[in-house]
């Protein structure tokens, strides 16, 4: 079953068809979402009534286009703000974690490393409700003790950022650690022998080498935050991020404006994915 071993033409043909069908299965739903963004109909379904850009550009109801739909635009803004904060916080902590687990030796390191990985096996919904419950416990306690309402601990943007930060940090840590592990630490020692302090050596030698990993991890963090649903759903307040806003509309029955948003999301993710592939494959020092 490898090219150097002969096998029947029939077998090879069937196998190729199977793989072909798999890719059709993979691509079809996304293509369909994209195409129906241009259907001149009130519903994202058959029949096809001819192409239109109304679901992007139209200024009036009922065919209110995406670029004039205040609610959707606002939720995109909310998602963007959340994703920026989550990405920055996750990257900073993940870089610290990478140095902690790759460079330092301390008792209990293995146990802490396993605990660092646990967010990967906690379902997002449960992570969300546990943070919701805990923050409310603290907020209620503060209210009883000091008669002061810690508003940021009630469902809302801050909690959404915290909830996403909780598990996205783990993923970013794995990406950055993998790069740091490959880094030759004798380069850092050379800088220190030449008179640099350790912080200066890390800043001028190690971090520049980590840059592709940091950019790659940053893009992954941003997308995961922007597209997160499960954890966000439990922590969301009155300002709904895009995924929540889209979900609410989907439940009510949708118009093709959702296809327009989806297409926009796909294009944006595609561009970010290309950027990340570009930076990941860039060789250090070349």
């Amino acid at each position: 079953m490898i090219p150097t071993i002969s096998s029947s033409l029939y077998f090879r043909g069937t196998y190729a068809v199977y793989v072909g069908l798999f890719f059709i299965f993979l691509i079809t739903p996304l293509t369909v979402v994209g195409i129906f963004a241009f259907n001149d109909s009130m519903f994202p379904s058959m029949p096809w009534n001819g192409g239109t850009l109304a679901w992007f550009l139209n200024e009036t109801e009922p065919q209110l286009g995406l670029f004039h739909d205040e609610d959707l635009l606002e939720s995109i803004g909310v998602s963007f703000v959340v994703a920026c904060f989550t990405t920055i916080a996750s990257l900073v902590l993940a870089t610290c974690n990478a140095f902690l687990f790759e460079r330092e030796q301390f008792p209990g390191k293995n146990l802490l490393y396993i605990l660092m990985l646990t967010p990967l096996v906690i379902p997002g919904v449960i992570l969300g409700v546990s943070i919701l419950a805990f923050s409310s416990t603290i907020a209620n306690w503060a209210e009883m003790q000091f008669d002061y309402d810690l508003e940021f601990l009630r469902p809302g943007i801050t909690l959404v950022v915290l909830g996403q930060f909780a598990f996205i940090t783990t993923i970013a840590t794995l990406v950055i650690s993998a790069r740091l592990r490959k880094f030759d630490s004798s380069l850092e020692e050379a800088a220190m022998n030449l008179g640099a302090t350790r912080i200066a050596a890390v800043m001028t030698v190690t971090l520049p080498d980590l840059k592709p990993a940091l950019i790659g991890a940053g893009i992954v963090c941003f997308l995961m935050s922007f597209e997160n649903f499960n954890t966000t759903l439990m922590l969301v307040g009155s300002d709904a991020p895009l995924t929540i806003a889209m979900f609410d509309r989907l439940k009510e029955g949708s118009t093709p404006v959702l296809n327009a948003v989806s297409l926009l999301l796909m294009v944006a993710s595609g561009v970010l994915a290309l950027i990340s592939v570009f930076f990941q494959s860039e060789k250090p020092g070349s």
């Binding site: 490898i2 369909v32 902690l100 439940k251 796909m266």
Partner: protein, 287 residues
Amino acid sequence: MDKSSYTRFSLWILLLPFVLWLLLLILLPHVDMVSISLRERVSARNYTFSFKNYTEFFIEPLYWRTFVRTAWMSVLATLITLLIAFPVSYYIAKMMRGRLKALLFILCLIPFWVSELVRTYGWMILLRETGLLSTFLQWIGLSDQPVEMLYNDVAIMIGLVYTSMLFMVVPLVTTLDSLDDSLIEAGYDLGGSNWNVLTEIIIPHAMPGIVSGCIVVFMLSLGNYLTPILLGGKDSLWFTEQIFTQFITRFNWEQGSAFGILLLILSSLIVWAGLKLSRQSFTNVMS
């Protein structure tokens, strides 16, 4: 500053943010959830210790049936995903070379870059009564009226398998890629049949990939909320939906926490069993 105290200092600086993150966002919230699940509301702001929320789970058939159903469907989704993904991964890793291989691999990653909501929405457009598949069936004459293919278990299954496909393909391709072709050739040279080579060389070698893929897919299916709700409709009976209902709709946090803990115990048990069966360590599988 001498070197050793400098090292100690840097260790503490790095350890502090990590420990804060771990305690405040992971450990304490779960401890708090356990304590909430073990209390019963007597009157406003007055609680007593009780196992009532857990006994409620076993008394009310709807709850534990939903639980068993969710676990069973997730196992099934994991197996189907593995069966579909394995030949494809093998094809990419072993039958393809060079640019085409890289291209096919990246093609597999595309759905991952798209929000789960968009993926599910795509299936809704395909499967609904006025959707593409239904229209297609009528057009080729297999059906003379619109067919509703949404809001049933098959639709949920398609959605789950589709959503988690990537998390199976990537670890499988990575491990299969590291299998040396000469080992497969040696298997055939020694007189092994296709079946022998598959079960005694390829699958044992791919085991770490299979296990990590299965664990991730199972976790994602078990904790999924979007796909069962949108593709399964009102009667999807998914356990995360129960948790959501208790927390957000009924505001019964005690019951919701108990459900959350039960789901967490189930998922940990299955992950643990998967690791034991395949003799893998958690750290290796996850990173």
